[in-house]
Symmetry: C2
Subunit: 204 residues, 2 copies
């Protein structure tokens, strides 16, 4: 038997591709062989896009969302409600909230949630900068839009209890309840219980 | 609502990554955000490996397997049986046969199989070069190791019937039969039928 791959170039590409999450060596090999069947310019463009992304990306100095400028388009937009800040875990969550079309305020990206198991404490997240933003004034409501998990709840509570923090402000949390389109019988009991306790007037 | 992605760099990386087979925009975004959390050197190495692979890869002039040299290590190996050629569809199949540890001959990579539906005719495959190799002499057996599909069978038959081709040679095909470890009841009837017709003496 010879070496597993017939070429060190292929070996290197497979090793790099399979270091990505959710991509094993079989998938990596499939991707590499796909690239070999395409035009050179396509592979070069992919490689370049990956390098450019990581080398040149910047983060908004206000909300810590990904941004190509010092301040992101959302934070610098004149059309958005500057008195409301939606606190999210990561950049993807900003995109999710934006896609709803139901929100016109600003964001604050924490970069994670508190998780003692994973060794992530509050000082590793953008919580201090959130408190500073709030203390600088002009903010009337903080919406906690963190995951509905133990870690998310812990982080919600930590932010809420910061003594110099959000006291005096309206602090809200995303509603927990049945997913739109779901059946009662397929809704888990914790969620169903919450949606009973937090039931809303019909027709509102 | 703002644009879907907060950065053209991110947009470009997602577009490029999602052009890969089996990678949709959601997965591409997950991969891009993963790269943003890693060291710059990691993203640069990935991008470079992709470009190098496509730009510098070469194919063996004899068997058309991927190779960093003019002739691949298998074709140039002194330790391999040069009288046997195993005909496979693609580079991955060479690796699969090599991994069995049961083969010590040479290969010939067709680059596909005949498929009128996909517009792939015999002239688009490395069949002429196979016939040339055979006519050059020194080959005693051609093993057809193409997929056990209609397209694979068609290609087998086409190669077998080439008038100036493999006549006079021993031409063999991979055995069809029950997969090792499988139950009778889970073996489809075509395969089970073939393994009955081609039953082998016990203990051999």
């Amino acid at each position: 038997m010879e070496q597993e791959y017939p070429s060190p170039l292929l070996e290197a590409a497979v090793a790099r591709l399979s270091s990505l999450p959710g991509i094993g060596r079989r998938t990596a090999l499939r991707l590499a062989l796909h690239l070999l069947r395409r035009d050179v310019s396509e592979a070069v463009a992919l490689g370049q896009a990956i390098m450019d992304l990581r080398r040149d990306i910047r983060y908004c100095s206000v909300c810590h969302n990904i941004s190509d400028d010092e301040v992101c388009p959302i934070c610098s937009s004149a059309g958005r409600d500057r008195s409301t800040v939606c606190v999210v875990e990561n950049v993807r969550d900003v995109m999710s909230v934006e896609r709803t079309g139901q929100y016109n305020g600003l964001y604050h990206v924490l970069g994670g949630v508190i998780s003692p198991v994973d060794g992530i404490g509050p000082d590793m997240l953008e919580i201090d900068s959130l408190v500073e933003r709030v203390r600088a004034g002009g903010i009337g409501e903080v919406i906690l839009a963190l995951p509905a998990t133990m870690e998310g709840d812990t982080t919600d509570f930590y932010i809420y209890r910061r003594p110099e923090g959000v006291a005096g402000l309206r602090v809200t949390q995303l509603a927990r309840g049945m997913a739109v389109g779901n059946d009662i019988e397929y809704t888990d009991e914790l969620t169903l219980g919450r949606s009973l306790l937090q039931r809303t007037p019909f027709g509102v």
